[in-house]
Protein backbone atom coordinates (compact mmCIF):
# COMPACT_ATOMS: atom_id res chain seq x y z
CA UNK A 1 0.00 0.00 0.00
CA UNK A 2 1.36 3.39 -0.94
CA UNK A 3 1.81 6.00 1.70
CA UNK A 4 -0.25 9.17 1.42
CA UNK A 5 2.89 11.28 1.54
CA UNK A 6 3.92 9.80 -1.77
CA UNK A 7 0.77 11.13 -3.41
CA UNK A 8 2.28 14.60 -3.61
CA UNK A 9 5.28 15.28 -5.78
CA UNK A 10 8.00 16.59 -3.48
CA UNK A 11 11.16 18.37 -4.54
CA UNK A 12 14.25 16.35 -5.44
CA UNK A 13 17.31 16.03 -3.20
CA UNK A 14 19.17 18.32 -5.62
CA UNK A 15 16.50 21.00 -5.11
CA UNK A 16 16.83 20.65 -1.31
CA UNK A 17 20.60 21.18 -1.57
CA UNK A 18 20.15 24.26 -3.77
CA UNK A 19 17.56 25.72 -1.37
CA UNK A 20 19.89 25.11 1.61
CA UNK A 21 22.75 26.83 -0.24
CA UNK A 22 20.52 29.82 -1.04
CA UNK A 23 19.44 30.00 2.62
CA UNK A 24 23.09 30.06 3.70
CA UNK A 25 23.96 32.78 1.18
CA UNK A 26 20.98 34.94 2.22
CA UNK A 27 22.01 34.64 5.88
CA UNK A 28 25.56 35.72 4.98
CA UNK A 29 24.15 38.67 2.97
CA UNK A 30 21.94 39.67 5.92
CA UNK A 31 24.91 39.81 8.28
CA UNK A 32 27.05 41.66 5.71
CA UNK A 33 24.31 44.27 5.21
CA UNK A 34 24.13 44.73 8.98
CA UNK A 35 27.77 45.89 9.03
CA UNK A 36 27.59 48.18 5.94
CA UNK A 37 27.18 51.74 7.19
CA UNK A 38 25.87 53.10 3.87
CA UNK A 39 22.89 50.72 3.95
CA UNK A 40 21.69 51.74 7.44
CA UNK A 41 18.83 53.96 6.12
CA UNK A 42 17.30 50.99 4.26
CA UNK A 43 18.38 48.32 6.74
CA UNK A 44 14.90 47.49 8.08
CA UNK A 45 13.09 46.91 4.75
CA UNK A 46 16.13 45.12 3.34
CA UNK A 47 16.46 42.70 6.26
CA UNK A 48 12.72 42.08 6.44
CA UNK A 49 12.65 41.27 2.71
CA UNK A 50 15.57 38.84 3.00
CA UNK A 51 14.04 37.24 6.09
CA UNK A 52 10.71 36.83 4.25
CA UNK A 53 12.56 35.20 1.33
CA UNK A 54 14.18 32.65 3.68
CA UNK A 55 10.85 32.04 5.39
CA UNK A 56 9.15 31.40 2.03
CA UNK A 57 11.89 29.04 0.84
CA UNK A 58 11.72 26.86 3.96
CA UNK A 59 7.91 26.77 4.03
CA UNK A 60 7.58 26.24 0.28
CA UNK A 61 10.28 23.62 -0.31
CA UNK A 62 11.22 22.00 3.02
CA UNK A 63 7.65 21.97 4.37
CA UNK A 64 6.39 21.08 0.87
CA UNK A 65 3.64 23.71 0.96
CA UNK A 66 4.45 24.57 -2.66
CA UNK A 67 3.50 21.03 -3.67
CA UNK A 68 0.87 20.11 -1.06
CA UNK A 69 -2.88 20.60 -0.76
CA UNK A 70 -4.33 24.12 -0.69
CA UNK A 71 -6.08 23.19 2.55
CA UNK A 72 -2.70 22.89 4.30
CA UNK A 73 -1.73 26.25 2.80
CA UNK A 74 -4.92 27.81 4.17
CA UNK A 75 -4.36 26.32 7.62
CA UNK A 76 -0.93 27.95 7.75
CA UNK A 77 -1.33 31.20 5.83
CA UNK A 78 -4.63 32.17 7.51
CA UNK A 79 -3.34 32.24 11.12
CA UNK A 80 0.00 33.67 9.91
CA UNK A 81 -1.81 36.58 8.22
CA UNK A 82 -3.87 37.19 11.38
CA UNK A 83 -0.69 37.13 13.51
CA UNK A 84 1.05 39.62 11.18
CA UNK A 85 -1.97 41.95 11.16
CA UNK A 86 -2.16 41.85 14.97
CA UNK A 87 1.58 42.60 15.21
CA UNK A 88 1.18 45.61 12.89
CA UNK A 89 -1.92 46.81 14.77
CA UNK A 90 -0.18 46.56 18.14
CA UNK A 91 2.92 48.33 16.84
CA UNK A 92 0.71 51.15 15.56
CA UNK A 93 -1.20 51.24 18.85
CA UNK A 94 2.01 51.58 20.87
CA UNK A 95 3.37 54.29 18.58
CA UNK A 96 6.34 52.26 17.35
CA UNK A 97 5.85 53.47 13.76
CA UNK A 98 5.48 57.09 14.85
CA UNK A 99 8.66 57.06 16.96
CA UNK A 100 6.67 57.22 20.17
CA UNK A 101 8.98 54.68 21.82
CA UNK A 102 12.66 54.93 22.57
CA UNK A 103 14.89 54.20 25.49
CA UNK A 104 14.31 56.24 28.61
Amino acid sequence: MENSTAEHAHASVKTYLVVAAVLGVITAVEVAIFYIEALQPVLVPLLLTLSAAKFTLVVGFFMHLKYDSKIFRGLFVGPLAVAILIILAMLALFGVFGGGGGAA
Partner: protein, 198 residues
Protein backbone atom coordinates in the same frame (compact mmCIF):
# COMPACT_ATOMS: atom_id res chain seq x y z
CA UNK B 1 -0.71 -3.66 17.17
CA UNK B 2 0.24 -5.66 14.08
CA UNK B 3 2.26 -4.05 11.30
CA UNK B 4 -0.77 -3.96 9.00
CA UNK B 5 -2.88 -2.30 11.66
CA UNK B 6 -0.10 0.18 12.37
CA UNK B 7 0.19 1.07 8.69
CA UNK B 8 -3.59 1.44 8.49
CA UNK B 9 -3.62 3.80 11.46
CA UNK B 10 -0.71 5.66 9.87
CA UNK B 11 -2.71 6.33 6.71
CA UNK B 12 -6.00 7.38 8.31
CA UNK B 13 -7.58 10.05 6.15
CA UNK B 14 -10.05 12.78 7.04
CA UNK B 15 -13.25 13.62 5.09
CA UNK B 16 -11.13 16.03 3.03
CA UNK B 17 -9.21 13.04 1.66
CA UNK B 18 -6.08 14.38 3.36
CA UNK B 19 -4.16 12.55 6.10
CA UNK B 20 -5.80 13.57 9.39
CA UNK B 21 -2.55 13.66 11.38
CA UNK B 22 -0.93 15.97 8.84
CA UNK B 23 -4.03 18.17 8.85
CA UNK B 24 -3.81 18.35 12.63
CA UNK B 25 -0.13 19.25 12.52
CA UNK B 26 -0.78 22.13 10.11
CA UNK B 27 -3.61 23.37 12.38
CA UNK B 28 -1.22 23.16 15.34
CA UNK B 29 1.43 25.09 13.40
CA UNK B 30 -1.22 27.73 12.61
CA UNK B 31 -1.92 28.11 16.33
CA UNK B 32 1.81 28.33 17.00
CA UNK B 33 1.97 31.30 14.59
CA UNK B 34 -0.42 33.09 16.95
CA UNK B 35 1.64 32.12 20.02
CA UNK B 36 4.93 33.35 18.60
CA UNK B 37 3.15 36.37 17.11
CA UNK B 38 2.07 37.43 20.61
CA UNK B 39 5.61 36.99 21.99
CA UNK B 40 7.11 38.91 19.05
CA UNK B 41 4.66 41.78 19.63
CA UNK B 42 5.71 41.90 23.29
CA UNK B 43 9.39 42.03 22.33
CA UNK B 44 8.88 44.72 19.68
CA UNK B 45 6.68 46.92 21.86
CA UNK B 46 9.21 46.80 24.74
CA UNK B 47 12.20 47.27 22.43
CA UNK B 48 14.26 50.31 23.42
CA UNK B 49 12.14 51.02 26.51
CA UNK B 50 14.43 49.55 29.20
CA UNK B 51 15.32 52.20 31.76
CA UNK B 52 18.33 50.29 33.12
CA UNK B 53 21.02 48.22 31.39
CA UNK B 54 22.41 46.02 30.12
CA UNK B 55 21.00 46.92 26.69
CA UNK B 56 20.86 44.65 23.62
CA UNK B 57 23.70 46.50 21.85
CA UNK B 58 25.98 45.77 24.86
CA UNK B 59 25.36 42.04 24.79
CA UNK B 60 24.30 40.61 21.43
CA UNK B 61 27.08 38.74 19.64
CA UNK B 62 26.14 38.74 15.94
CA UNK B 63 28.96 36.50 14.59
CA UNK B 64 28.26 33.84 17.23
CA UNK B 65 24.51 33.80 16.69
CA UNK B 66 25.01 33.74 12.89
CA UNK B 67 26.85 30.44 13.30
CA UNK B 68 24.07 28.90 15.44
CA UNK B 69 21.48 30.22 12.96
CA UNK B 70 23.37 28.53 10.13
CA UNK B 71 23.43 25.30 12.17
CA UNK B 72 19.64 25.39 12.58
CA UNK B 73 19.14 26.14 8.87
CA UNK B 74 21.29 23.15 7.95
CA UNK B 75 19.28 20.96 10.36
CA UNK B 76 16.27 21.70 8.14
CA UNK B 77 18.24 20.34 5.19
CA UNK B 78 19.18 17.15 7.06
CA UNK B 79 15.51 16.77 8.08
CA UNK B 80 14.26 16.78 4.47
CA UNK B 81 17.09 14.42 3.52
CA UNK B 82 15.92 12.08 6.31
CA UNK B 83 12.34 12.19 4.98
CA UNK B 84 13.47 11.58 1.39
CA UNK B 85 15.56 8.59 2.54
CA UNK B 86 12.70 7.06 4.58
CA UNK B 87 10.28 7.55 1.66
CA UNK B 88 12.56 5.54 -0.64
CA UNK B 89 13.01 2.99 2.19
CA UNK B 90 16.73 3.72 2.56
CA UNK B 91 16.66 3.33 6.34
CA UNK B 92 20.45 3.47 6.70
CA UNK B 93 20.46 7.02 5.28
CA UNK B 94 17.22 7.80 7.08
CA UNK B 95 18.74 6.94 10.48
CA UNK B 96 21.90 8.91 9.68
CA UNK B 97 20.03 12.10 8.72
CA UNK B 98 17.59 11.82 11.64
CA UNK B 99 20.51 11.55 14.06
CA UNK B 100 22.32 14.41 12.31
CA UNK B 101 19.23 16.62 12.61
CA UNK B 102 18.96 15.89 16.34
CA UNK B 103 22.68 16.60 16.83
CA UNK B 104 22.46 19.92 14.97
CA UNK B 105 19.47 20.80 17.16
CA UNK B 106 21.57 20.00 20.23
CA UNK B 107 24.40 22.22 18.92
CA UNK B 108 21.89 25.07 18.52
CA UNK B 109 20.61 24.48 22.07
CA UNK B 110 24.17 24.42 23.43
CA UNK B 111 24.74 27.79 21.75
CA UNK B 112 21.60 29.15 23.37
CA UNK B 113 22.63 27.87 26.81
CA UNK B 114 26.05 29.52 26.32
CA UNK B 115 24.41 32.79 25.28
CA UNK B 116 21.97 32.79 28.21
CA UNK B 117 24.78 32.02 30.68
CA UNK B 118 26.90 34.81 29.23
CA UNK B 119 24.02 37.29 29.51
CA UNK B 120 23.36 36.32 33.14
CA UNK B 121 27.06 36.80 33.95
CA UNK B 122 26.84 40.24 32.32
CA UNK B 123 23.97 41.11 34.67
CA UNK B 124 20.92 40.47 32.48
CA UNK B 125 18.26 38.34 34.17
CA UNK B 126 14.60 37.69 33.53
CA UNK B 127 13.61 40.56 35.85
CA UNK B 128 16.49 42.99 35.19
CA UNK B 129 14.72 45.13 32.60
CA UNK B 130 12.16 44.98 29.78
CA UNK B 131 14.78 43.69 27.34
CA UNK B 132 15.71 40.81 29.65
CA UNK B 133 12.09 39.83 30.31
CA UNK B 134 10.98 39.91 26.66
CA UNK B 135 14.24 38.43 25.29
CA UNK B 136 14.37 35.44 27.61
CA UNK B 137 10.63 34.77 27.21
CA UNK B 138 10.79 34.84 23.40
CA UNK B 139 14.05 32.96 22.83
CA UNK B 140 13.39 30.63 25.78
CA UNK B 141 10.01 29.60 24.32
CA UNK B 142 11.70 28.95 20.99
CA UNK B 143 14.47 26.98 22.71
CA UNK B 144 11.86 24.84 24.50
CA UNK B 145 10.34 24.04 21.11
CA UNK B 146 13.78 23.03 19.78
CA UNK B 147 14.27 20.81 22.85
CA UNK B 148 10.93 19.06 22.23
CA UNK B 149 11.92 18.61 18.58
CA UNK B 150 15.26 17.03 19.55
CA UNK B 151 13.50 14.55 21.89
CA UNK B 152 11.02 13.76 19.08
CA UNK B 153 13.84 13.20 16.54
CA UNK B 154 15.81 10.99 18.92
CA UNK B 155 12.65 8.94 19.55
CA UNK B 156 12.27 8.41 15.79
CA UNK B 157 15.95 7.49 15.57
CA UNK B 158 15.54 4.84 18.30
CA UNK B 159 12.43 3.50 16.53
CA UNK B 160 14.37 3.33 13.26
CA UNK B 161 17.29 1.52 14.92
CA UNK B 162 14.90 -1.02 16.45
CA UNK B 163 13.28 -1.57 13.04
CA UNK B 164 9.92 -0.08 14.03
CA UNK B 165 10.23 2.83 11.60
CA UNK B 166 10.01 1.95 7.93
CA UNK B 167 8.91 3.63 4.70
CA UNK B 168 5.31 2.77 5.70
CA UNK B 169 5.72 5.30 8.52
CA UNK B 170 7.06 8.04 6.24
CA UNK B 171 4.10 10.23 7.21
CA UNK B 172 5.30 10.19 10.83
CA UNK B 173 8.71 11.47 9.70
CA UNK B 174 7.02 14.09 7.49
CA UNK B 175 4.93 15.36 10.43
CA UNK B 176 8.05 15.55 12.61
CA UNK B 177 9.70 17.45 9.78
CA UNK B 178 6.83 19.95 9.62
CA UNK B 179 7.32 20.72 13.31
CA UNK B 180 11.10 20.97 12.93
CA UNK B 181 10.94 23.27 9.89
CA UNK B 182 8.42 25.48 11.68
CA UNK B 183 10.86 25.86 14.58
CA UNK B 184 13.44 26.84 11.95
CA UNK B 185 11.24 29.48 10.27
CA UNK B 186 10.41 30.99 13.67
CA UNK B 187 14.16 31.38 14.26
CA UNK B 188 14.59 33.00 10.84
CA UNK B 189 12.18 35.71 12.03
CA UNK B 190 13.69 35.99 15.53
CA UNK B 191 17.24 36.25 14.16
CA UNK B 192 16.24 39.28 12.09
CA UNK B 193 14.07 40.97 14.72
CA UNK B 194 16.24 40.43 17.79
CA UNK B 195 19.80 40.39 16.47
CA UNK B 196 19.90 42.36 13.22
CA UNK B 197 17.30 45.07 13.89
CA UNK B 198 18.96 46.19 17.15
Amino acid sequence: MSETAAASAEMHQSSTGLPSRKLLMWAFIGSECMLFGSLIITYLVYRGRSIVGPYPEDLLNIPFITVTTFVLLMSSLTMVLALAAVQRNDMRQGKLWLLMTALLGLVFLAGQVYEFTHFVHEGLGLTTNLFGASFFLLTGTHGAHVFVGVIWLLTLFVLAVSGKLTSENAETVEITGLYWHFVDVVWIVLFTIIYLLV
